[in-house]
Symmetry: C2
Subunit: 320 residues, 2 copies
């Protein structure tokens, strides 16, 4: 009986030792580099060992953990919100274009127009009411070209990477240009990342007490834009430590990868490269979002790795 139990234990251990922590990643340089890095920083006998408290990993969201085409999903949320507004509330060309679902006309109204659409859906309500509105939308809305739920368009290989890092003692954070209150609605369900580990852009919130009930009200004023050089600033503000692992997909993530890989500890910089026009979208140096120029030019000499979606990923979304 004891021998049988011992044999069962050994076989479990062997299975664990040989189990592939990243089954949706094809064999190749990037997969090997990720696994090698994690093994080195978690091996107490290694020169590269990093104590668990310092194993901080940061991930961009749009285009890194879930898709971002043909427009940021948060913009679709905003447009869907405007579509439900009364005609009398559609007081600008941008709001009218959004309500008509005319993306071309909306884009023609420029940044100011987009801000109007975002303001209509994101402000003048409490944080709690906003989150309820996002949750209802996520439950009903589908992506215009795939017909999938938006939160089903997360990348299976990145879900495996997040789990692998957490299994190895890392704390995983989202550091996104998207809205912090928006992402917190699905960060737990989609990524198993608690709301306290979501960093993002945000509007100014006001604390108001109405009839004895305190509320946090969302105002139209920008509090913090968590993009480019803002990302290291927000990382310091929220986390208070320099990460040792960073993943992004655009030049908006360049400074986050730069900051992460400039410390004294061993570190890893990863770019998700959108190369797969058959299964997802192919884009990098040109386009209206997710532009990746400097990362492609300077990343390799900085020792950063690229996940070539067509080559490195056996699966894109979990449903496949």
């Amino acid at each position: 009986m004891r021998m049988l139990a011992t044999a069962a234990c050994l076989s479990l251990l062997a299975a664990a030792a040989f189990a592939d922590p990243l089954p949706s990643w094809n064999a190749g340089e990037t997969k090997s580099a990720i696994i090698g890095f994690v093994e080195a920083v978690t091996d107490p006998a290694s020169d590269e060992y990093v104590t668990p408290a310092d194993r901080i990993a940061v991930f961009d969201n749009d285009g890194t953990l879930w898709s971002e085409q043909p427009a940021y999903f948060q913009l679709f949320f905003a447009i869907d919100h405007v579509k439900k507004m009364d005609e009398s509330q559609l007081t600008s060309d941008a709001l009218k274009a959004a309500a008509a679902g005319d993306m071309k006309a909306l884009m023609a109204t420029g940044e100011q127009g987009l801000l109007e659409v975002l303001a209509a859906s994101h402000t003048g309500m409490s944080v709690a009411a906003f989150k309820d509105s996002v949750a209802s939308w996520l439950d009903m809305a589908v992506h215009p070209t795939t017909g999938m739920r938006y939160d089903a368009m997360v990348y299976q290989p990145m879900l495996e990477l997040l789990s692998f890092l957490r299994d190895e003692g890392f704390a995983t954070y989202i550091v996104s240009g998207g809205g912090i209150d928006f992402i917190r609605v699905f960060s737990g369900g989609a990524y198993n990342i608690p709301v306290s580990q979501v960093v993002g852009s945000s509007l100014v919130s006001d604390y108001v007490v109405e009839n004895g009930t305190p509320m946090l009200m969302k105002t139209p004023d920008l509090f913090f834009l968590d993009d480019k050089a803002g990302k290291p600033v927000a990382i310091n503000h929220h986390i208070g430590k320099r990460p040792i692992f960073a993943a992004g997909n655009s030049d908006g993530d360049f400074q986050m990868l730069e900051w992460t890989t400039s410390g004294e500890a061993p570190s890893f910089g990863l770019y998700v490269h959108h190369t797969d026009d058959d299964r997802e979208w192919a884009y990098d140096r040109e386009g209206h979002i997710g532009v990746l120029n400097r990362g492609l030019d300077d990343g390799p000499e900085r020792g950063w790795y690229f996940a070539d979606m067509a080559k490195d990923w056996a699966v894109i979304w979990p449903a496949e």
Copy 2:
């Protein structure tokens, strides 16, 4: 042998069951209420049960976790920094007063003067250099009247409360009007609170790359004042959930306690009341810091508890 081991286990369990989690708190209404609350929210059979992920506890720092008299310890840090500056750098009355250690003259320069002294010690350097400067100061400086290290003037009963809450599955956060980068230097050593769970006031940081080396530079511009109505806003920004336990000592903490105790979940509001002029300092309704008026007036009817330092605390600082 097996019976002996079982007996040893049972006796350990019994000891744990009867061990007082708050040995430095005298028996009384407040101690009983704290223990009763924690037992209720952690008992799966209780109507008041709160899932571990929602057990968030927030603590003010100055006057709640450590002393704050005769002035905020962060101000002593700033003054000690100015004392080491060259005379040619003392370009204002406030800086001259600080360098001379003349608190009365410094206070006479008003808020503007204090900001000048803070700017001299807190800005124009990287976050990393600032933290080094705070760490060196903490290792050398002593309090002007007690002669103790500043980080030895933490409250033993509150250390026990932090540990008790964590043992019962709470995440403990500092939510302070003091500087986030300042507090993070000692939050781990003094309170066993990781830097990611420190929320505080902050200056704008700039991300700059000099000769290929990225740095976060502290500027003189205020980014966020984490006081009064700012505390619930910062709690939402950093933690993303409403706490169920909040402790403070002044009207600057009123909104934090109000927000914490206005949710649907069971909650606890605690005010540390400085009543002990023999062992610490006695102050509440009047004074230049730590003013507690509204809390004393409205706290009782809101069901908040008061830790009367003279009556409820057997010990103030750990060294006693």
